[in-house]
Amino acid sequence: MNIKLFKKYRGAYLLLLPAILFFIIFSYIPMSGLVIAFKDFRLGLGIIGSPWCGLENFQVLFENANFIRVIRNTLVISFLKLFFVLVVPIILALMLNEVRLSAFKKGIQTLTFIPHFISWVILSGIFLMLFGIDGPLNKLIVSSGGDPIGFMTSDVWFITIIIATGVWQTAGYTAVIYLAAISGINPNLYDAASVDGANRWQQTWYITLKALQPTIIIMFILSVGGVLNSGFDQIFNMYNPQVYDVGDILGTWLIRRFEVLDFAGAAAGGLLQSVLGMFLVCLTNSLSKRFAGKESGLW
């Protein structure tokens, strides 16, 4: 680098230094530590001392029936979530946008926005109680003559609850982002459309949704990035061994491998997760650029 330039920006670089150190230590050194996935790791020998073993760790993973199940669960939960978590907030935002009573609109917005700031530890505490075997929902069912349902222990109910509570937590926050985008639409467009005889449905479809498209695409790409993670915090705090068949996902499985000190296996799985996640984001980004124009997409 040009010495003169460096001198001129010495102050700025000095301010940048802690950040650079942070990303080297907590991002790039761990990334290089992923070589452990290709090693026959022994605690006593350390990462550098352990012998290479090629793709053996990955082979072991794919020969494990549980791992295949985990991949399947991750994909199923992710795609269900991807759909509902994307669509519900759009509908919510459009509905809120039609409300003329601003106090009511604000109140609902406030209510739906809250859960975004509450952790899944707290939320699972609440939901495990609500859907518990002697929770209020089951009390209602029993008092109206039914049999209590094991919501958290039956496969179908568990997945339904995971998706529903996932939507419950995020819909309000995402809707607020959409509403902000809607408020930036030029009102003349609506006037012009109504002069041309467009009714409110047509206006919503052709003006509002059209204007929301870039935001929707960005939200979509961002959630694709989380696909293979599919809500680790949520599931790790809500699942139990009885629903491993449908609820055990990559993240929860990896953390259990880690807890039994299978470091090489957990690292191999983690590497797969990271690489596939990055691949999916890049794929969605280039697809959205191709079909929705060069301007859309994250980069």
Binding site: M1, N2, L5, F6, Y9, A12, Y13, L14, L15, L16, P18, A19, F22, F26, S27, Y28, I29, P30, M31, G33, L34, I36, I47, L92, M95, L101, F104, I108, T112, I114, F117, I118, S119, V121, I122, S124, G125, I126, F127, L128, M129, P136, K139, L140, W168, G172, I177, A180, G225, D233, N237, I255, F258, A266, A267, G270, S274, V275, M278, V281
Partner: protein
Amino acid sequence: MKYTKGEKLFNIFNILILSIVGLIMLYPLLYIFIVSISTMAGAGAGLIPKEITFSAYRIVLGSKELLTALGVSLLRTVVGTSITVVVTAMCAYALSIKKLPHRNAIMFLIVFTMLFSGGIVPTYMVVKGLGLIDSFFVYIFPMLLDVFCILILKNYFEQIPESIIDSGYLDGAGDFNILFRLYIPLSKPVVATVALITALGHWNSWFDSMIYINNPDLKVLQLFLREMIVESNFFYHYSNAIMVNSENISSETIKAAIVVITILPIFIAYPFVQKYFVKGIMLGSTKE
């Protein structure tokens, strides 16, 4: 504005559905509060407690474990947020200087960490290598910077006219002074947003405490709550207290009280969150 019949019908329907949505949002939060103040006989599906008791709070707030965890959580939130806001602002300031040599390369390397990470195993080894296991600083350093926060602050700083820097230089001020005397005061809403995101992140963290901390005196409140609810460590901590107090409350009441105590700071912060959060994100996230 005049509405047609169909539009009127739609408006009624719309408000009705949204009211139901509002109730669904509110019910779980209200329910947990009601349980936390109800006796064993009083807790039903309804939202009106039959018998009110505060003994759950008395028991919980009288236990050393919970107070310790609460203290650790508060401390990490205050210390972590202050350090993070300063370092984030420093980083965002440097990156907002358009002529900074290698700016794009540095930006790429920072944003790339959003897309790809080493994952839990290598990160654990780094943390262990730094001697942070069972140290309070494990709450501060590994989550010192968040790329999203850097980006919103950087984007906002970029909108500040460069002439301000130049006039600062002319007056003999260094970058440090320009940042803290000029830039930060000019960007209060966005700085507040970054502080809020960070503080909420600290308050809500539990994973680091679970993985890196063995010392029970260093556990955070969220982990304490998790152990209570998910791992059912409940009886270990509180069954004695209930018996000694011979109170007519169930374990659910105690759990609910802990949940309420954990949520409370978020509710206290919420008006500020509403004020700054959306605005800050919108201000900062304008695409270049």
